[in-house]
């Protein structure tokens, strides 16, 4: 083992029998009264290491990550904006972190007042009539939304409506969610300009239509211009409209999903309201609904009553909402994430909401214009970018074998996280680029320079990036081996 390998080894390899972080466990020696037959005889193979070893190991591991705090992260569809530190500090106050979820209302008024106000603010920015904070991620919000649509039709005895329309450009979660709700998916084609194909929509709707799931601005980075027609067609057919809030950042304070005709929306608080992505979670997928779906909201929902001019906060449960689609989590959802979103929204404030959309859109259009000038091909050159846009490397891939994957990996070597690659699936060799409002012009210019450098090296000097990256902790990984020779736990290979 060389030095590097030793430093990078797993904690299991550093483990020595009998070593411990002695400060970290109560000093208990007495045997328990538990029956022998129920006890385990083997010792679980957890690492046996000192506290310093643990701290050093995980600190070193952290340093192998790209993150917003360390790198520009223009990952389309993910809204990787700055996560203000105050949100973490204030949500981590002991009064909040120490509160048991089943504690009495007498010891919850401070927390619940934040949650109630968050619900109100989310209603305001979406134009919805009711909000439930309980979904634990965007995909769970989607599940709640489609389940509510289904429950609505069922409550009217309309049991044949089981078809969900989804544009072919949609996130994979949309069709997967519809399937989880026991609905059939019908895909809608997209026009060359990036809008929903209205004629195809007219042909698709009917007595089986439960609803349509739309992201607007869409996953193609453009605003759905025919939204009013889409609303009319689906509504006339008896269907409901579902708004996938993945791209809400682009329209905050500019247009309300409720005004566009949507009946239900999920919000990704970890995108729009800047709670941390945490290396893959936790998210938070609050849902908002219009009048018709209010009785079906997932529980619990925070309530407020005024007594003698004083506000008292409590919960609406299944007893208050007997038609609710039910509960989605053990308690009330990702409360700590919700607190972070609350702090963020209070710091941004009413005017700040509009500015988020404005500067996110400004940054995207600026980057789009600069990259187009530099010779990159846009998937939708005649459209405004929303807060993100799509570049296609179809030509570069054909002419000099520069693929989206190559550009992604070459960017890592230049200190930039890669944009989203190969999504949306409709556009070949694509990069979906979302700079967010928190990046400065200087950062964007640096990114453009890196993109130009990669393109010119490949085009003019025949450079290949098939083996990039070179400066990361590892080189390109063998995904095929990972899947064929499954090794998902230390000490045991399938």
């Amino acid at each position: 083992m060389n030095v590097q390998e030793k430093l990078d080894s797993t904690l299991f390899e550093q483990s020595r029998r009998g070593r411990r972080a002695f400060a970290q466990a109560p000093d208990v020696t007495e045997a328990t009264d538990l029956p022998q037959a129920l006890l385990r005889r083997d010792r679980p193979g957890l690492p046996e290491v000192s506290e310093l070893q643990v701290v050093r190991h995980f600190t070193r591991l952290s340093q192998k990550n790209f993150s917003i705090d360390t790198h520009f992260y223009p990952l389309g569809s993910c809204t990787m904006k700055y996560n203000p530190r105050a949100c973490n500090t204030l949500a981590s106050l002991p009064g909040f972190t120490g509160r048991h979820p089943l504690g009495p209302l007498s010891h919850a008024q401070g927390f619940l007042s934040c949650m109630w106000e968050l619900q109100e603010m989310l209603k305001d920015v979406t134009g919805m009539q009711g909000v439930s904070l309980t979904p634990m991620a965007g995909a769970q919000g989607e599940l709640a939304g489609v389940a509510m649509i289904r429950a609505y039709h069922d409550s009217r005895g309309d049991h044949e409506r089981r078809e969900i329309l989804v544009p072919d450009a949609a996130h994979g979660t949309n069709p997967a969610t519809a399937n989880m709700c026991g609905c059939k998916v019908r895909e809608l084609p997209t026009t060359a300009e990036g809008d929903v194909d209205i004629e195809a929509l007219k042909a698709a709707v009917g007595e089986h239509t439960a609803g349509i799931m739309l992201t607007n601005p869409s996953t193609l980075g453009v605003f759905e211009r025919d939204i009013i027609a889409v609303d009319r067609i689906v509504r006339d057919a008896g269907g409901l409209l579902y708004y996938d809030g993945a791209n809400l950042n682009a329209i905050l304070g500019k247009v309300l999903p409720g005004d566009m005709g949507f009946d239900v929306i999920h919000m990704n608080l970890h995108k729009t309201f800047s709670t941390p992505h945490g290396g893959g979670g936790p998210g938070s997928g609050a849902v908002g609904v219009g009048e018709r779906l209010l009785p079906f909201l997932p529980t619990p929902v925070v309530s407020r009553t005024l007594r003698d001019g004083e506000a008292h906060y409590g919960w609406l449960t299944e007893r208050d909402l007997p038609q609710s689609i039910g509960r989605l989590s053990g308690f009330m959802g990702n409360a700590g994430v919700l607190l972070r979103a609350y702090v963020y929204m209070r710091m941004v404030g009413r005017e700040g909401m509009r500015r988020i959309a404005e500067y996110a859109t400004l940054n995207a259009n600026y980057l789009q214009a600069r990259l187009q000038d530099a010779g990159f091909e846009l998937a939708f050159p005649n459209r405004r970018a929303s807060h993100e846009f799509v570049v296609t490397l179809k030509r570069e891939a054909r002419e000099f074998e520069l693929t989206a994957m190559d550009v992604a990996k070459a960017l890592l070597d230049r200190g930039y996280h890669a944009p989203t690659t190969y999504f949306p699936l409709l556009v070949p060799e694509c990069l979906l680029i979302e700079p967010t409002e928190t990046e400065s012009k200087q950062t964007l210019d640096g990114f453009v320079d890196a993109m130009i450098d990669i393109l010119s090296q490949a085009r003019d000097r025949g450079a290949s990036f098939k083996e990039a990256p070179h400066s990361m902790p590892v080189r390109r990984l063998d995904d095929v081996k990972a899947a064929r020779e499954l090794d998902v736990r230390f000490g045991k290979t399938a």
């Binding site: 190969y422 995904d479 095929v480 990972a482 899947a483 064929r484």
Partner: protein
């Protein structure tokens, strides 16, 4: 240019079918399909005795970047599956028309709707453009 044996029938879903002497049919995916999927890492096979409809899901082939259903080109009962693919899915990459066969069916239906090699070639040509 992908290889296309002349003695097989094809489908627009990039599958091939060979009629065996005993009346059964052997089914696999075409060279074009395996190349598009990339290195295969897993094949989910049906149970022997399973009855499948024409166009119904029968198996799944999976690479690191995609998973694709294998549909039954004709209706019938599964009489054999290529067990060797469980350990070596790459047989499909290496020899799609031979060692990489996937399922054998006893057909219960005629095989109208299958494509000749020429018709399938025309589909591939279209994709190239």
């Amino acid at each position: 240019m992908s290889e296309l044996p002349g003695d097989l029938m094809y489908t627009s879903e990039h599958e091939w079918l060979r009629r065996e002497d005993d009346g059964s049919v052997t089914i696999g995916i075409t060279d074009h399909a395996q190349a598009a999927l990339g290195d295969l890492v897993y094949v989910e096979l049906p149970e022997i005795g399973q009855v499948v409809e024409t166009g119904g899901d029968m198996a799944v082939v999976e690479s690191v970047k995609a998973a694709s259903d294998v549909y039954a080109p004709v209706a019938g009962e599964v009489t054999a599956v290529n067990e060797a693919l469980a350990d070596d899915p790459e047989k499909i990459n290496n020899d799609p028309y031979g060692d990489g066969w996937i399922v054998r069916l006893a057909p219960s239906d005629d095989d109208g709707g299958l494509l000749s090699p020429e018709d399938y070639q025309a589909i591939l040509d279209e994709l190239d453009n």
